[in-house]
Amino acid sequence: MKNSIRVERAIKNITQAELAELIGVSRQTINTIESNRYVPSTVLALKIARVFGKNVEEIFMLEEDD
């Protein structure tokens, strides 16, 4: 699974730490999700999508081998 959190963050101009604080997780969690080392739960994915005001599918996308 890939995601566009880094792009969305750049558009909104917020850092990893700020995003982490907005959804109530640690900065490390955001870092591992961005670098595709951790797949977030549905609750966390929905929270991230709500911060950016978009649908979950626009931020998290399935890859061919998923």
Binding site: G24, V25, S26, T29, P40, L44
Partner: protein, 262 residues
Amino acid sequence: MKTNLLPAYFKKLGYISLIVAVSAYFLITSGLLYYFVSPKTVFYFKQFSLYTFLFSLFSIGFSADPKGQSLTGNKLLLPHYFKIIGYIFLVITLILCILIKTKRFNWHQSVTTTFIVPNVPDEYQAEMSDRQKKSFLKIEDREKVEVQSTVIINSISLILPIGLLFIAFSKEKIEDELITSYRAQSLQLAILLLFFLILYQKLNVPEVETVIVSGDKNFGYFDLPGRAWKADVLINVILIFGILKMEYMLRIKPFFNKTEKA
């Protein structure tokens, strides 16, 4: 089903009584208390510690959760400040360790229970050799035969888990789902290490060592506990490994990732 028998402030009361109970257990098991009070008072202290512990379990388990408990909230975890308390216990334990090693302070305890060996039934006596029978009858006629079962209490291996458990079972500052998965991973690895440790010891380290004394007319033997690590030592090793793995994933690994990027 929700079990909210008690109001939310009982949770805090439970945590306080847990600290009190564990401190009392620490004082008793480390042997420090024996320096200050009589053994009878220590007995009452033991009772006090046990009942306070049971009360804390009851009040933590059956009280309402404070609001804002997240979905990944683990009921087994203690608040973040228990990590500091855990480190304090660990430091005190290490100081005691050094004092014991340098023989400034020494305390150990063993509980022994004695049983009288029952008579050997006739059918077993029939299988004995003449010499064995002779010596057995000799024992039966004149001497007392006893079997002693002993519990060896090694104070350090029993007080070290207090600090370790508090560190391993307290929440991080921000307890999220990534940390929950790290916790599961480190526990899994710890269980794997435990298995290989036990397997290695089972095959290589003696559990019982027998000293055999024999002469021209007499023959005797006695058993000694082997050098194999007992359960109380093993649990410490596993807890230390689990904590180190957790600390590595939380604090050391991200540091390396950062330097990679730069």
